[in-house]
Point group: C2
Chain length 319, copies 2
């Protein structure tokens, strides 16, 4: 079973076929960065059209067992997530609505301060705000997983401590391997994994040692070492694959509508030669074996661990 | 099993307790008259709060089996419906979204021309529009039931003919019994019931012979005769109970935001003395027995027929 717990591609039949051919049974796809609730619903409508157009390749994943169903029927279950809290606007009631529409992961912040917590690019990390505490409780209640990938250190640790259910860093790497601010300190990873949560390893070049030139071996050694340090059952893949996107998508991610800065000419960086599409997960499995991980450990990191996390994380709490 | 397939009360714990004490296992509640999509979502959020506050009395009904669950646990399943197509705005993709949020009935029109068809108060009945045909197909696909209670004659008949799944007149009475324009001609009732659909009998005074002074016996005779004419399995209750509402709610129903007319001083008319709350369904059952309906026929009209309709109507079509 293969699960990639974060992608943001310019979706197309080609990519859905690659998911299929690559044996990827579940993908957590980003459907909002800065979108309002209504805009997020529009993006869901777009996915509903794709589900109708390509029923032999993809379907809307709601629960862990949908990953099994995908594996059994040779398809890919698509799980929705938000990289920011903008889809809930300032309205805590929208959390249950978003979950009913299939939302399964929501970051409390993207790079900036949000109503709920601070992003990693803020000068000062507010920690989890008053509203943030309410929202964590509500996300716990309905089964919308808290994702702190882009959050600041203090916010990440506080969220892990406040949440009564496991939370996630869906896509980041340990800063001890590649010390950029977007990667996570041992303290942050320990807070999240110690509370039953997960970290998903990113293949997005700025998160990789030596960027686009990162070697498969270096990546796989980092995976194995992180598993040894924080638990082999606490690690997975969240590739952050950005495929076939125009360069301007980077400006949208970075600047949304919060600044009049146009985001400059930032381009989508080239992914490492050994990871450019959903066809490349087999290579990672071979790389993990080559650095000495066992068959069971590899099965965990490639999907089994996220599967267990989905089982625990997505259902509403019994009232 | 008792199902009331239309109410629009000023909801409160008192009313939920009456549903419970009155043994009403399912109520189709109106959650939008003129609301936009976002306003409808706000109304769903309000219901979600009530579900959280009164879990021993009510819960959100999604499927026919929820009515059984309600009966088994001594509660009332609340099914959402819209008396107009305003919640889908001009966006056919919202139909699937509204169904995912629990929407189960939608009128193609309230009293006026809509994007989809004509209301009964229009001078000219357009019939089902171009968009209306697309929307009927999509409602059929996702399992959102077409309700023509407030529609014009031609629109009602065309919708019944165009729909590939049974449709409903959730709340109206036969015009042959009480000939007001809001009640339905034999031709309209025949078109709907002949296609496997249902008519729910209304207790709203303007729809009753002699209005608020209508006798229980007259109502029950009408029920029995309508069953004989169109099928004992094609009839149910859609009381249109308007309870504890301020008079101004009538102006909202009538004028929404489509006119600058303030709706005048119309008041909620008093319901017949024998039907004023959810405690009164037993009296109707006795009245139906008194006019000669059998135990099975009464069980059908009081809930069994709607139950079967729910079973057929709410599930998405297999793709």
């Amino acid at each position: 079973m293969r699960i990639d717990n974060l992608q943001y591609a310019n979706w197309s039949e080609k990519i859905f076929r690659q998911m299929n051919e690559g044996g990827v049974h579940a993908v957590h796809v980003t459907i909002a960065y800065h979108e309002t609730f209504r805009e997020t619903v529009h993006n869901i409508e777009r996915w509903n059209r794709w589900f109708g157009q390509f029923p032999d390749l993809i379907f809307h994943g709601l629960w862990a067992e949908d990953v099994k169903r995908a594996a059994e029927t040779g398809r890919t279950a698509i799980f929705f997530g938000f990289q920011n809290c903008s889809p809930m606007e300032d309205d805590i009631g929208l959390i249950e609505i978003l979950h009913a529409l299939g939302g399964r992961f929501m970051q409390l912040t993207y790079n900036n301060q949000s109503l709920l917590a601070a992003g990693f690019q803020e000068h000062h990390d507010s920690g989890v705000t008053r509203m943030g505490r309410e929202v964590i409780r509500e996300m716990n209640r309905v089964g919308l997983v808290i994702d702190m990938s882009h959050s600041g250190e203090r916010s990440t640790i506080e969220a892990a401590e406040l949440s009564e259910r496991p939370i996630a860093i869906t896509h980041a790497n340990p800063a001890r391997w590649w010390p950029v601010p977007r990667n996570k300190s041992d303290d942050a990873i320990r807070a999240v994994t110690g509370n039953g949560g997960m970290i998903g390893f990113s293949l997005y070049p700025p998160h990789l040692k030596d960027g686009s030139g990162c070697s498969l071996e270096s990546f796989c050694r980092m995976v194995a070492e992180t598993g040894e340090r924080f638990g082999m059952d606490r690690i997975g893949i969240g590739s952050d694959l950005v495929q076939d996107q125009p360069d301007r998508v980077i400006a949208w991610m970075r600047t949304g509508r919060w600044t009049k800065d146009d985001g400059g000419n930032a381009a989508v960086p080239p992914f490492p030669s050994w990871f450019t599409s959903n066809l490349c997960f087999g290579a990672i499995e071979e790389g993990l074996a080559a650095v000495g991980m066992t068959v069971d450990e590899i099965a965990g990191v490639m999907g089994g661990n996220w599967y267990r996390f989905y089982e625990e994380g997505f259902t509403p709490r019994p009232s």
